[in-house]
């Protein structure tokens, strides 16, 4: 967006009545930044990868768009798209889980909360998983666990680095312990990937919490976070209730985690692809001394 366009936007947004604004927003032509509240052309916001050019705020990005942002055109090969969630516990709270799934699938056009596939980043092959917060808050059920595990196993056998864009509210309670166990399953797959001397980079986006934080989000060789993303194990409200006092504003932000040593580097989304390409090219797989473990990893992986 040029400076002139920007002034133009400001003028326009100033002159718009509230109703008019709302209509334009709902039309999708204009978007309002959820941080600085300025109005921008949705098209321009998209072109800037959903990062507000006014204040730098990173709006949530859904999985389709994220794949477009990261993967070179025409190199994306989606994997395991045929995996659909089921309702193994016949779970029913205020609504049946099966109904919830059907509704969410219809509303989002997604089958579950992660998309996985192989592709290239500036010509370098990668195995990429992208979580999607729209699908039940990016919660991790059997399908998320299975798709990520298969992705990692495939990367191990193909000697590809793994990149996972994380965003999640945590476990999917409607799948009970099956959900919790996915944490271990994915971590196990990462152990074999690691033993094969390969690179794993999780990208922590807003918000990354609960079981995802306590498993693959924190297991990267290099851990990247997006600016100001909320990242934590326990929910902020849970902790506030226990303490009976308000927490500092930067608590559980990417910056707070960097300060406490759990994030390697904070990278603005607009720089992400370039930086990933650089990091991947710096890490070429080397032969490992743990050849036995590597052998096992090969034997176990599916392809």
């Amino acid at each position: 967006m040029s400076l002139f366009d920007w002034f133009e936007n400001r003028r326009k947004s100033g002159s718009l009545s509230w109703e008019r604004q709302e209509r334009d927003i709902s039309d999708g032509l204009w978007s309002k930044c959820s941080a600085c509240e300025i109005l921008v052309y949705t098209k321009e916001l998209r072109a800037n990868q959903m990062v507000c050019q006014e204040c730098g705020h990173h709006e949530q990005v859904y999985s389709d768009e994220r794949i477009l942002q990261l993967i070179d055109a025409k190199t994306w090969i989606p994997l395991d798209e045929e995996l659909y969630p089921s309702d193994p516990l016949q779970f029913y709270d205020r609504k049946a889980y099966s109904d919830r799934l059907a509704e969410t699938q219809k509303k989002t056009g997604l089958v579950d909360a992660v998309q996985t596939g192989l592709g290239q980043i500036e010509g370098l092959p990668v195995a990429l998983g992208v979580m999607d917060f729209r699908f039940m808050g990016g919660s991790m059920g059997s399908v998320v666990g299975e798709k990520l595990t298969r992705l990692i196993e495939r990367a191990t056998s193909k000697q590809y680095p793994v990149i996972i864009v994380c965003t999640s509210g945590g476990a999917r309670m409607q799948e009970g312990m099956l959900s919790l166990m996915q944490m271990a399953k994915i971590s196990g797959a990462l152990e074999y990937h690691r033993a094969a001397g390969l690179l794993y980079i999780p990208i922590l986006t807003h918000p990354t919490t609960g079981g995802v934080t306590a498993s693959f989000a924190m297991l990267g060789d290099i851990i990247i976070a997006e600016p100001k993303a909320t990242i934590g194990f326990a929910g902020r409200r849970v902790i506030e209730q226990t303490l009976r006092e308000k927490l500092p504003n930067d608590f559980q932000t990417a910056e707070d985690l960097l300060h406490h040593g759990f994030v390697d580097i904070i990278i603005p989304r607009t720089e992400l692809k370039k930086n990933l390409a650089q990091l991947i090219s710096l890490h070429q797989p080397v032969s490992t001394t743990h050849s036995m473990v590597q052998w096992e990893a090969m034997a176990l992986s599916s392809t």
């Binding site: 029913y92 059997s142 944490m183 498993s215 194990f233």
Partner: protein
């Protein structure tokens, strides 16, 4: 060790049984005082008590099991360790700044063989519970556990973990010390270890805090223990927006040993003494020891590669989906 002499704190559903047992004692006492032979009546009453006990303990609801799992007299990790070991040397510290009393561990001799044992440690009374943070481990606790497991791996000692926690500690310090990182690290590294690993849920298996020492070749679970993705209270608050729906959540979440066996998560259920482990801790310890030794026997026959493979396959196959 808690002994059978001490009267357990009473749970609601235990009341009819305890009342009956009290009456039997009373009658026996009276008869003795008065020199009356009431052998037959006593025998009848005791059969009645046995049936009542069976009725109660074989039909416990998930929330009732949760109450038993959390019972203050239920044997804790240290109770079991001391009861089943020939030698026990507790070791301390994560070598990084803390020694978490909510997660304890050390080296023991079990049936003549060196092993590393570790587990969540709840307190016995309120003061002890405050010191032990109610068995909710801090990041340092998980790091201590990992350090001890690495030690075990280095010296070829099997690892026995005991799970008994409402969940990992949720607090400002826990976040700043990396609760997520500490658990995640254990989840990955436990798949790497060469030695046999047996995990046993002895009481309350709470979420990621339980899983953080729960990756093993075998997962055992006591009959009345529970293991859940979130406490039924938290689940009710989030999904029902109503904490009083916790009993329903407890049912829906499938948290009992029996449920988890049929979901393919458990390897083995350890049957408890007739009135639960809290009423006969020494017997419960015997059962635990037997279960551990039997599984150790099988696991030590395998190569470390075989064990890593069954460990991975055990978790690899968990999950249900449609195609």
């Amino acid at each position: 060790m808690v002994t059978t002499e001490r009267k357990p704190l009473l749970l609601d559903f235990e009341k009819p049984l305890v009342d009956l047992e009290f009456r039997i004692d009373k009658i026996r006492e009276l008869a003795k005082e008065n020199g009356v032979d009431i052998g037959e009546q006593i025998c009848q009453l005791e059969t009645q008590a046995m049936q009542l006990r069976q009725g109660i303990f074989s039909n416990l609801s998930p929330s009732q099991k949760l109450q038993i799992a959390r019972h203050p007299r239920r044997p804790s990790t240290l109770d079991y360790i001391k009861a089943i070991s020939d030698t026990w040397i507790e070791l301390h510290g994560d070598r990084g700044g803390s020694d978490d009393p909510a997660l304890v561990g050390g080296i023991a001799k079990l049936a003549g063989r060196p092993v590393v044992m570790l587990g969540h440690q709840k307190g016995r009374d309120t003061k002890d519970n405050v010191a032990r943070n109610f068995g909710m481990a801090a990041p340092g606790g998980y790091r201590k556990a990992m350090r001890l497991m690495e030690h075990a791996n280095r010296f070829g000692m099997p690892i026995l973990t005991f799970i008994d926690t409402p969940g990992a500690w949720a607090g400002v310090q826990a976040e700043h010390q990396g609760q997520g990182e500490a658990i995640a690290y254990n989840l990955r590294e436990m798949f790497r270890l060469d030695v046999p690993i047996i995990c046993t849920v002895i009481g309350e298996g709470g979420s990621g805090g339980a899983l953080g020492i729960g990756v093993g070749d075998r997962l055992l679970m006591f009959e009345h223990a529970v293991y859940t993705v979130a406490t039924p209270e938290a689940c009710a608050a989030i999904l029902w927006k109503d904490v009083s729906k916790a009993p329903q959540a407890a049912i829906a979440l499938k948290i009992t040993a029996q449920d988890l066996k049929s979901l393919g998560i458990l390897n083995q259920i350890l049957l408890e003494p007739p009135s639960g482990a809290h009423c006969d801790p020494l017997e419960a310890a015997k059962i635990l020891k037997q279960g551990l030794l039997q599984n150790l026997e099988e696991l030590t026959q395998m190569t470390s590669q075989q064990r890593r493979q069954i460990r991975y396959q055990k978790f690899r196959q968990i999950g249900v989906w449609n195609v």
